[in-house]
Symmetry: C2
């Protein structure tokens, strides 16, 4: 450790958090020191353990401190449905919002050849192996509706078809509670062309 | 530690930081895990040390890990000017913005009898002792221009006068770069009545 005062070191290190600038870092440091030392101690301990022990699940590549994550280790979860997402936060979002009881595969990114992210970086070989050994009935593609996300979805679709697995893609359109007036043009265009008979 | 997955524990503990809700905590946790494990480890170490070791300076009550803070320990700092502030962040702000070479006294609050904060909680007895033993020539009152801050300033002014110390208060008015049109009424009224001859 340097000889800078500890308080300044603390403010500096808090800036490694995303969205935290000098002013917020200072506010956080003083808040912990003046009002919540216990919270700060707990955070420090959990943080140290997390940075040390959290790795990737052997099966789905999600973040976990065990060899396989709690979802993959849960025998109750349906092996016939496999949902492919870009990141661990997508798993959290789907788990919170839906009653999905199948399994996941976490790409930890999306195909982006210009950034050097190809099928290998996304663990697609591992996925192909899993699809070959124990194919699910349905692959649900939940990558984001961006250019790279769509390219990744297309690639995944081809993989699934090669193994004779039926593929679905989560719906994109006007969000519930949204208003047409305030929805962006491309979403409206997509929603319009993907209209469903009722 | 509980048997919750470490990732969830990490997200939970990040919420002890002020202004961090569930979404930001999740974003912070994933950012550290996916992109900045070294930053996370450093933060954890500095945090543990800070929560354990940072206390108050014996002389000025500011936060420090030593017996006396770096400002009080610095013999170059002028003993003839004493600036009274409400909190450690005020010391940081004044140190950054001005060339002040005197010393500080940090109240760690402001007089607020309704909240049970009286002279004792603000260390004013300790201050009175210091003023008696080694009176500075000037006391600069830099409490905030709120109702409680003004009451505190008035109390401090009386203390200084009792010891025959001259008192000043930092100026309040329209901020530099501000425009009258967008300045609140009470600031304009104060600036108007405190006008200086030029």
């Amino acid at each position: 450790m340097s000889s800078e005062p500890l308080l300044e070191q603390l403010i500096d290190s808090l800036r490694c958090l995303p969205g935290v600038g000098p002013k917020s870092a200072q506010r956080m440091a003083l808040h912990l020191l003046e009002r919540d030392r216990d919270g700060g101690k707990t955070l420090s301990a959990v943080l140290a353990e997390s940075m040390e022990r959290i790795g990737r699940c052997r099966e789905c590549r999600n973040l976990t401190e065990d060899e396989t994550c709690s979802i993959c280790a849960n025998e109750q979860r349906d092996r016939d449905q496999l949902c492919i997402v870009e990141s661990p936060s997508d798993v959290i979002a789907i788990e919170h919002a839906t009653g999905f009881r199948g399994r996941y595969f976490v790409l930890m990114g999306r195909l982006s050849p210009l950034d050097g992210i190809g099928p290998e970086e996304l663990g697609l070989e591992q996925l192909a192996e899993q699809l070959g050994q124990r194919p699910p009935q349905e692959m649900i593609i939940a990558t984001n509706p961006t250019v790279e996300g769509e390219a990744t979805a297309f690639y995944l679709q081809r993989m699934a078809q090669k193994h004779g697995i039926s593929v679905s893609r989560i719906a994109h359109g006007v969000p519930l509670g949204g208003e047409l007036e305030f929805t962006d043009q491309s979403t409206i265009a997509h929603a319009f062309s993907s209209r469903l008979a009722i």
